[in-house]
């Protein structure tokens, strides 16, 4: 039944990989964007405080007694120290001539006087940010331009940025882990219905070809519809072939009866021993064919009725004694005695009387067939209140040990049955009936070493 399935990838794995990939991409994107944004923000705040410093120095520039007085406020530099530990450089020029500060500071960004100008430069081997602004003053009646530049190294900026990067990286990793966790959950839940369907289909019995009726997600509907339609076609095809077999068996059985009657009439008329022998062989072959046809019909009947099981209260004792009565004439022909043991009270189970009868007849027929002449077949009905059992034991050769498992399959006959008419369907029928009723068929050899033992067990109807 289970052929090798050729696999290609895994939906779950693909889902997880795609979700993880997406999450990682988003996390990286977030990191980059936030970092860029943070850098702009940090650079802006440095520019702002440098601008404030420059402005406060320019504000302090005044003309006193006809000369330039420049009383740099303490706050102009201390405010820079409040924000970071960066080094501070400054320079003040008057009409482009150096006045005070660091004379070798790089030249500031050129621009209009009214503008605050920014420049990033290298001074004493480190990167600095320079902010420059200027103001017009009238010194001794002459208009002059006082320009102030304040510069700062960017260690604080770098440190802030590193801290932000670390935080954002942690945040990104956390985000990724959370997304990964949710992604795995999502993949699991997406794959869940598929697993459920696979589970419920694979748990089914071999004969169960009913359509799947459980509700499934929209995406799986086409698959389930296809599965259902496939199963219904399979079932139709199986039914058709069984019908065909039954029909064929039926068609064959009636003419065979006629042929057998004619053969017996012929047998009486024939005198020559070799001719009589030939006719007997013929009759025997006809019997075999007719029996096979009968069992095929039986089997078809069992299959059909199993699916539309009618359940009524049936007494195992009644069934057993009926079967024994029906087959007693056949047993008598071979000088076989049937010994029936019944419990005191009826063993009622819910089931189909015709099927159960057929199962018992097949088992008893087997027992009689495989028993030597002048022996005893024992039929024992027992029950313990919850389970009932019919055990049929013969004194034949028993079952070959290696075959116990396969004997219930269709058309499988034991290796030690040569010389006995049989179709290989008897045990199959009994087994199918037992299963249809939730019971079981058990085959074993008698412990004393003589004969086989077949028992049918069922759960009894609760009273």
């Amino acid at each position: 039944m289970t052929g090798a399935v050729r696999k290609k990838g895994s939906i779950r794995r693909r889902l997880i990989i795609q979700l993880l990939g997406g999450a990682a991409l988003l996390a990286i994107l977030m990191f980059v964007v936030v970092r860029l944004y943070a850098r702009d923000l940090a650079a802006d705040s440095q520019d702002e405080i440098l601008s404030a410093s420059v402005t406060s120095i320019l504000d302090a520039a005044a003309v006193r007694n006809g000369t330039l007085a420049l009383d740099i406020p303490y706050s102009a530099f201390s405010m820079l120290g409040n924000v970071s530990d960066d080094r501070v450089f400054y320079t003040v020029t008057r009409n482009d001539a150096f006045v005070t500060g660091y004379q070798d500071l790089p030249t500031p960004q050129q621009g209009r006087i009214s503008e605050t100008r920014f420049r990033t430069a290298t001074y004493r081997d480190v990167e600095i940010r320079m902010v420059t602004a200027a103001r017009r003053l009238s010194i001794a009646g002459v208009p002059e331009v006082v320009e102030v530049t304040v510069a700062q190294t960017r260690d604080g900026l770098r440190q802030t940025l590193n801290e932000i990067s670390r935080t954002v990286a942690m945040f990104g990793i956390g985000f990724f882990l959370l997304a990964a966790f949710l992604g795995v959950l999502a993949a699991q839940s997406a794959i869940g219905p598929l697993r459920q369907l696979a589970g419920s289909v694979s748990r089914r019995g071999p004969e169960d070809l009913r359509p799947v009726t459980a509700r499934v997600p929209e995406e799986m509907a086409p698959l389930v519809a296809a599965l259902n339609s496939f199963m219904s076609r399979l079932k139709a095809s199986l039914t058709r072939s069984e019908d065909l077999i039954a029909e064929a068996a039926h068609r064959v059985r009636t003419p065979l009866a006629t042929v057998r009657t004619q053969a017996e009439i012929t047998l009486r008329r024939v005198d020559k021993p070799e001719n009589r022998q030939a006719v007997r062989e013929m009759i025997r072959a006809i019997d075999e064919s007719s029996r096979a046809a009968g069992q095929l019909l039986d089997h078809a009947m069992v299959s059909f009725r199993s699916e539309h099981l009618e359940t009524k209260g049936v007494d195992l004792c009644r069934l057993a004694s009926d079967a024994v009565e029906r087959l007693r004439p056949m047993a008598d022909l071979r000088d076989i005695d049937i010994e029936l043991t019944l419990p005191g009270e009826p063993q009622i189970l819910r089931g189909d009387a015709i099927l159960l009868q057929s199962a018992l007849l097949n088992l008893l027929d087997n027992a009689i067939k495989y028993s030597p002449t002048d022996s005893t077949v024992r039929v024992v009905v027992s029950g313990d209140g919850t389970a009932g059992r019919v055990m049929i034991r013969d004194s034949g050769k028993g079952f070959a040990l290696g075959e116990l498992k396969t004997l219930t399959q269709r058309f499988v006959r034991g290796g030690n049955t040569s010389g006995v008419v049989g179709s290989g369907l008897g045990l199959t029928i009994a087994d199918e009936v037992a299963r249809a009723h939730g019971g079981s068929l058990k085959l074993e050899n008698a412990k004393e070493g003589i004969g086989g033992c077949a028992s049918l067990s069922f759960l009894l109807a609760s009273r």
Binding site: A69, L70, D71, I72, P73, Y74, S75, A76, F77, S78, L80, G81, D85, D86, R87, V88, F89, V92, V99, T100, G101, R124, V126, D155
Partner: protein, 340 residues
């Protein structure tokens, strides 16, 4: 070999030439003679003040000598800034000059457990480390205040001097801010803290204030009674002389300016590792046998009322007072207050 000796000789001569470019006040050596390495320390502090800490450091560093050079804060700054002297540690009480040297890139960074456990106000940029905090005190001669209440604030002092000009005439002293870097630092910080400073300066100017270069001389004159009041004296120096019972060391309650003695490793250092260990030793050592040198650790109780403490803040703010324009303006204002 001969070549090497020649080169070494030339190098030594060059070093000697370098070393003489700035003026030194004292030079002392500590440690074993045969030591293979020499840690060069340039400091504004007296060798006697630092001897205990130098010897305790040498105990943990065998095979090391310490060459201890004492110079004024301006000369120290000049040695490092202009002369490029090879120094491993620079110790100074002139916080502004120290800050400028670090700001201008003449220092190496140093990070250790010891420095990172310093309070944030006691370090700047992982380059400059405060290892003591020393208040600017007013030292009074007890006898001069006989019959007068002892002042507790600058306002008290102003009132007393105004009320008794005869008693204080010519007996008031303070730093000449044009000469002394520390005096200038104290004066600028006082001026920043309160207008009272200018009033006090004017009152002292009116009483014919005597100007000094150093705390030690001022204290000497208070001890002899030549001075009744010495304003802005390094408290540590005054407290280091407990035997002088005739003086009273006043930490003004309106506000007391606190100077931080700082250390850094000059960029020219040839032994930055040992210098770093020395700085760790400086900042972690208990200064119990150096009265008045209050350690930076454990908060250090300087006055009963910690609110009045004005620690001079390390950082670029100190650069303001080193600006030439600013300095000239301050000198002028100061001169007009003092020399009336």
């Amino acid at each position: 070999m001969r070549k090497f000796v020649l080169l070494a000789g030339l190098a030594l001569m060059w070093l000697a030439a370098q070393a003489t470019a700035y003026e030194i006040e004292d030079r002392r050596s500590f440690g074993p003679d045969g030591a293979s390495r020499t840690l060069r320390i340039i400091s504004t502090g007296d060798a006697s003040l630092f001897e205990p800490i130098l010897t305790s450091f040498l105990q943990s560093e065998p095979n090391l000598r310490i060459d201890y050079v004492v110079a004024s804060s301006t000369q120290l700054s000049r040695a490092i800034h202009e002369d490029g002297a090879v120094m491993d540690v620079a110790l100074s009480s002139a916080m502004d000059l120290q800050t400028k040297l670090v700001n201008d890139g003449y220092a190496l960074p140093h990070r250790s457990n010891a420095t990172s456990s310093l309070p944030t106000w006691a370090r700047w940029r992982d380059h400059l480390f405060a290892f003591t905090q020393e208040p600017a005190a007013i030292v009074l001669n007890r006898a001069a205040f006989d019959g007068l209440p002892m002042p507790r604030t600058r306002q008290d002092l102003i009132a007393l001097m105004r009320a008794n000009p005869d008693r204080f005439e010519g007996r008031v002293g303070t730093y000449d801010v044009r000469q002394s870097g520390l005096g200038y630092l104290f004066a600028t910080q006082d001026a920043r803290s309160s207008e009272t400073y200018w009033r006090l300066t004017e009152v002292m100017g009116g009483l014919g204030v005597k100007l000094y270069c150093c705390s030690g001389l001022m204290i000497d004159d208070v001890v002899t009674g030549d001075l009744a009041v010495a304003y802005n004296v390094l408290g540590s120096y005054a407290q280091a002389r407990p035997e002088e019972t005739q003086i009273e060391v006043l930490l003004p309650e309106d506000f007391t300016t606190v100077m931080l003695r700082t250390a850094f490793i000059p960029a020219s250092s040839e032994l930055p590792d040992i210098a770093g260990r020395f700085i760790d030793h400086l900042v972690t050592r208990q200064w119990d046998n150096a009265p008045g040198l209050s350690q930076v650790f454990e908060g250090a109780e300087l006055t009963r009322d910690d609110q009045a403490l004005r620690r001079i803040r390390l950082g670029p703010g100190l650069l303001v007072f080193l600006d030439g324009f600013k300095k000239q303006a301050f000198f002028e204002e100061w001169r007009s207050a003092v020399l009336q």
